[in-house]
């Protein structure tokens, strides 16, 4: 794995490939998502990322705002995002071969 940052002491950053633990993974349904950011707020592993983009509103218009996506690299598959999502836009799917 490519190390992306340096630590002030020691020989780099200690990291565990926690993505390897996953037995279920979250899937985001963008047709239900209102880009509220609750998933980013509560993700323990910081696996939900945000960027600026166009948010589709219920009436068909768009606004500029934060858009959220799930990065599965270190996701442990806890299911907190699916549980906390107020729109039920995230569902947990079974990981292949697990």
């Amino acid at each position: 794995m490519e190390k992306s940052y340096k630590a002030p002491m020691g020989e780099g950053i200690y990291e565990v490939n926690t993505g390897d633990w996953r037995i279920q993974f979250p899937e985001m349904d963008k047709t239900r998502c209102t880009e509220c950011g609750i998933c980013l707020m509560y993700c323990p592993v910081n696996s939900v990322k945000a960027g600026y983009g166009e948010v589709l509103l219920k009436n068909g218009n768009t606004r500029q705002g934060l858009v959220y996506t799930i990065d599965l690299s270190y996701c442990k598959g806890c299911g907190v995002c699916a549980q906390e999502c107020p729109q039920d836009a995230i569902t947990m799917k079974r990981e292949n071969k697990r």
């Binding site: 630590a7 020691g10 980013l40 509560y42 592993v45 945000a50 806890c78 907190v80």
Partner: protein, 305 residues
């Protein structure tokens, strides 16, 4: 910058992969707190869950981007007081000197060092994540464990008897009564509130700031991983763990719970309380009500003064 923008764009100061249990809300708390504190921070993580999962590093590697120390269970506050004096001698006063300690290293073993630092007015920010026991070493009881709770050192027999026999130490109030400039309680279920309290604690310049965060432990309490945040939220909604802050003994409840859910609803979320009968639940309910009334009375007195 809104809270969401801070959470989204401030750099994560912790290693992206640490071996905390799946769904651990202490990991969430640590990442959130360190995002807000930023890179200009020196922090110490005594033995406990967050030390054990690799935040303090392993095999010559560091588990965090800012300098992180691994002090003893009982000298965290004293060691940080020394670090602060060292920086003061160099004329560097803009550095956050932070402890991120469990309840064992705060309420039990580290209490003398913390109490001393609070009394001397050492300028450090001490954060306690309270998961009600020595969870990292096998779920032993601490003085912060709730009454009647199962732990590995307060076992429960087949007929449902046993469990811890003493009440939880009311540590936030003990710290508030140290006359420190800032003391707050927080919960991982109320992140914007937590962020605001960390920012207030960072701005303290004339003494010790203390934040007590209530983190239900999934593995040790028997909670499914997706209920991680919900269990923490129920503790606040039932008034079992009220969110308040204090500055020089002036107490203010930051999240008033007007219509609390019964303590039973919070207790049923975790397996460690499963053996409780109605009488024991009633006792916890009465304790909760009493402590909340005490807080409200303290708030009343603070406003009058």
């Amino acid at each position: 910058m809104t809270v969401m923008e801070k959470l989204a764009f401030k750099e994560d100061m912790i290693s992206p992969g640490i071996s905390a249990c799946i769904g651990c809300n202490v990991e969430l708390t640590l990442r959130t707190v360190m995002k807000i504190l930023g890179p200009n921070t020196v922090f110490a993580v005594p033995p406990g869950c967050m030390g054990g999962v690799g935040v303090v590093g392993w095999n010559k590697q560091s588990g965090a981007k800012p300098p992180v120390f691994f002090p003893l269970l009982d000298n965290t506050a004293s060691m940080l007081a020394g670090i602060r004096l060292g920086y003061n001698a160099q004329g560097r006063t803009d550095i956050n000197v932070v402890a991120f300690a469990g309840d064992g290293a705060t309420v039990d073993a580290g209490f003398q060092a913390l109490s001393g630092a609070a009394e001397r007015g050492d300028r450090i920010l001490y954060i306690c994540y309270d998961n009600e026991g020595y969870m990292n070493t096998g779920y032993q009881r601490s003085s912060s464990t709730s009454k009647w709770a199962w732990t590995s050192t307060t076992p429960v027999n087949a007929s449902g008897g046993g469990g811890k026999r003493q009440h939880k130490k009311d540590f936030p109030v003990i710290m508030a009564m140290h006359d420190i400039p800032y003391m707050a309680t927080a919960s991982p279920a109320y992140i914007p509130d937590l962020v605001a309290k960390v920012e207030k604690a960072m701005s303290v310049t004339e003494g010790l700031a203390y934040i007590h965060i209530y983190n239900p432990c999934l593995t040790g309490w028997g909670i499914p991983s997706d209920q991680s945040i919900e269990a923490a939220r129920k503790a606040v909604q039932s008034r079992y763990f009220p969110l308040f802050e204090s500055s020089r003994r002036k107490i203010r409840i930051t999240r008033k719970v007007k219509e609390p859910i019964p303590v039973k609803a919070y207790i049923q979320a975790s397996k460690k309380f499963r053996h409780l009968d109605d009488e024991q639940i009633q006792e916890l309910q009465e304790l909760t009500d009493e402590r909340y009334r005490f807080l409200e009375a303290m708030e009343q007195v603070s406003q009058e003064g």
